[in-house]
Every structure is written in structure tokens, then in C-alpha cells.
């Protein structure tokens, strides 16, 4: 999955995204020394944090000298570019972010927001984790997940399509089959 980074061996980027939500627990988690050390240990060099509407501002760092380079921003119109250049994506559980990352074939850890009342979003992340398309964690368990993950064991996700739905709708309405 990491073929894209072969040309740039020394730069391995982690991209953290919370989408349009406010998910301080995740931003705080990746802002901790423990998580950043674990990322360094796994060979990552750069950390980009898209913090959305959150209020917790992470500590910036230029990196080098055995530390991680850390940068953050609230929103960006070029999320797709960040995803494309990332070697690992850590994302909130929104279906948009999940499938955009999976379509790009990037290793993904989905962090479930445990503070949400109606937390149906964890359903999707857990199902896809059961099917080995991604890793699923909570803000508290993120470090262990990074430490224990085996990216080679992840299976590529084959995107589905709406052809069966459209076929059923056409048949229901009495449109002739193509």
C-alpha cells in the first residue's frame, strides 16, 4: 500500500482529519507525547492535523532530531491532496472521510468519537474493521493501535456501485431492462 512513498523514503506523513466536526479528543490524543513517539517508532516523520471546529490547538513542531514534525490547520480545500500524500490516515468516523481514504488505498485508523450521543457511526467503522479494511480505535486506545497495527494485513476495499439499486428501481417502475 505504501508504493507511492518509494520516491520519498525519508518523508512518511500521517494525516489526521476530523472533517467538519469538532473532535477535540482526537486532536488531543495525537497531540500527546506517547502517540507521537509511537508514530516515530513506526517510521513516520510528519504529522498534519486537520482540526475542524475543535478548540484544542496542538503544539507545532519543526521536527528533526528524532522528533516528529507537527503542523495543523482548521479546514482546507485540498483535503484530497493531503490524503494522497499521506502514508497513514487517522480519521473521524464519518463515511465520507472513510471511503475517500479507502478509495485511495491508504492505511486508515478510524477513531470513534465516544462523546456523540447517537453514535451510529461506530457501526460502519467496526464493520469495516471486522472485514480488515481499516483499524478502529478510540482516542484512548489510539497509541496501542498504532503500536500493534500490521498494515500488510489490511485488505484493499473494492468500491461498490449503485447499479443493483437502479436496476430494482427501473424494474419496479416497469422500465424495460437494457
Amino acid at each position: 500500500m505504501d508504493n507511492a512513498e518509494d520516491g520519498e523514503k525519508f518523508k512518511k506523513t500521517v494525516f489526521v482529519t476530523v472533517g467538519t466536526t469538532c473532535f477535540d479528543a482526537l486532536v488531543r490524543a495525537v497531540d500527546t507525547k506517547e502517540v507521537q513517539e509511537e508514530l516515530l517508532r513506526r517510521g513516520y516523520t510528519h504529522l498534519f492535523i486537520q482540526m475542524g471546529r475543535g478548540t484544542h490547538t496542538p503544539t507545532k513542531s519543526v521536527g528533526g532530531d528524532g522528533t516528529l514534525s507537527v503542523e495543523y490547520f482548521t479546514f482546507s480545500s485540498s483535503i484530497a491532496d493531503y490524503l494522497r500524500s499521506a502514508s497513514l490516515v487517522i480519521s473521524h468516523a464519518g463515511s465520507g472521510s472513510i471511503f475517500e481514504t479507502l478509495r485511495l488505498g491508504k492505511p486508515l485508523i478510524v477513531v470513534v468519537n465516544e462523546d456523540l450521543m447517537d453514535n451510529h457511526q461506530s457501526e460502519l467503522a467496526e464493520e469495516l474493521a471486522d472485514r480488515k479494511h481499516l483499524y478502529c480505535a478510540g482516542p484512548q486506545t489510539l497509541r496501542q493501535t498504532i503500536a500493534s497495527m500490521d498494515l500488510d494485513s489490511l485488505l484493499p476495499y473494492h468500491p461498490g456501485d449503485a447499479t443493483p439499486v437502479v436496476k430494482h428501481i427501473n424494474r419496479f417502475l416497469g422500465f424495460p431492462d437494457d
Binding site: 451510529h120 461498490g160 416497469g174
Partner: protein
């Protein structure tokens, strides 16, 4: 005395007439509602050769992405004209559907078909109190009714969240009253793996949707009348 008696009996008579009229009306409505429910979910027998006006209800974020995936595959000449509705607080979805429609124009060169993009008031925003939401629900219903009267679609395509519920209920009422017969298709979001969303559950339980599609096999097991169609994303 006699006059009083006469008035009394005429009051009785008019009361009786009112009751009879009421009973007949309720019976007729009930028969009509059961007729509509009976035919809801029954596929059309005859071959359809003309295009159907279609209302596309856009959710937000992930919902809109799924709907656009569906529209990509849909035979555009059969489902035309198309009306797009999105929540008033959601600026992105209509923008995306506009981009989608204009990309069609570029490839097929079909101009002159009126596409409409409308925003609708939401009955309840996330975190809004229940007391004020009574008032906003009323406004949202009135607005939905107005839009439905204007568009009178033959096909409704929706995939949640709540925005589509008033529109689907009005479409159902239109069927009962005889204003417009329509077909309602609901695609449950891919994010729902184990339980239907509230919107999906309402349409399922009230038998309003002609077809309710789910994207995970577990859901189909739990709700047997739903149809499993695999993932849209």
C-alpha cells in the same frame, strides 16, 4: 311545548346526520388509506414508456455522496425533469448536485430540460430544544407542502436523514387524496450497519416507501421487507 319538541327532534336528526356523515367519511378515508398501503410496494405491471418527474432529496455530506453515486448510474432520460431538495442549512449538497447536472449537460448535450434546486427548512436542527421544534416543524411542513404542490413528483428518491420525512408523508397524502400517485424509494445510508436510522424506520414501519434498500446483509435479516443491494460507496 310542541315547538321545543320539534327543535329537539330536529337537533337529534342533524346530530344523527352529522354522525353518519362522519362515519362515512372516516370509512372512506380508511378504505382509501388501506388501498394506498395495499398498492405501495407493488411493482408496476405495465411497461413504462414515458419519463417520470423525479424529486431527489439530498441529505448532507456522506448522504449526498451516496445519492450522487446513485444518480450517476440512473438513466437520466427516464427520470426527468429532476428536482433537487436539500436542507436550508446545507449549502454544499445543492452545489454538488448542480455540478453533477452541469457535467451531464457537457457530456450529453441535453439542454432545455428544467432542473430545479431548492432549499427546504429543517424541522429540527441538531441540538435544538423540543419546544421550539414544534413551531419549526410546522413551518417546515408548510414549506414542504408548498414545494410538493409545486413539483408534484412521480418518483421520490431519498436516503435520509430527516429532511425527506415530511416530503414522503406529503407524497403519501397526495396518493390518498388522489392529487398524484408517486413511487417512493429510500436507500438507507451505508453508515447504518445494524439498525435502521429513524427516517428509515418511520418509512419502513408506516409502509410509506415502495422499496427500502439497505447496504448491509445484517440489516435485511433484521428488516425482512427491506431489500439488500450491496454497498453504494
Amino acid at each position: 311545548m310542541d315547538e321545543g319538541k320539534g327543535c329537539f327532534s330536529s337537533c337529534m336528526a342533524s346530530n344523527l346526520t352529522a354522525t353518519v356523515v362522519l362515519i362515512i367519511t372516516v370509512t372512506v378515508i380508511l378504505i382509501r388509506v388501506s388501498y394506498v398501503i395495499y398498492w405501495t410496494g407493488k411493482p408496476v405491471r405495465r411497461t413504462c414508456r414515458k419519463s417520470l418527474s423525479t424529486l431527489v432529496v439530498l441529505g448532507s455530506g456522506g448522504h449526498t455522496a451516496e445519492m450522487l453515486n446513485l444518480l450517476m448510474v440512473l438513466q437520466k432520460d427516464r427520470f426527468t425533469p429532476r428536482f433537487y431538495i436539500a436542507a436550508a442549512t446545507d449549502n454544499m449538497s445543492l452545489q454538488k448536485s448542480r455540478v453533477f447536472e452541469s457535467s451531464l449537460d457537457d457530456t450529453t448535450g441535453k439542454h432545455g430540460v428544467a432542473m430545479q434546486f431548492v432549499q427546504i427548512y429543517r424541522s429540527r436542527e441538531v441540538g435544538q430544544s423540543y419546544i421550539t421544534s414544534v413551531w419549526t416543524t410546522l413551518i417546515a411542513m408548510a414549506h414542504a407542502l408548498w414545494l410538493m404542490i409545486k413539483t408534484r413528483p412521480q418518483v421520490l428518491l431519498c436516503n435520509g436523514p430527516g429532511t425527506c420525512i415530511p416530503l414522503c408523508i406529503i407524497a403519501f397524502v397526495f396518493k390518498v387524496v388522489g392529487i398524484r400517485w408517486s413511487y417512493i424509494f429510500y436507500v438507507e445510508s451505508i453508515a447504518r450497519v445494524r439498525r435502521l436510522s429513524l427516517s428509515g424506520l418511520i418509512l419502513y414501519k408506516l409502509c410509506i416507501a415502495d422499496e427500502l434498500f439497505v447496504q448491509w446483509p445484517q440489516l435485511q435479516k433484521k428488516y425482512p421487507r427491506a431489500r439488500y443491494v450491496g454497498c453504494l460507496m
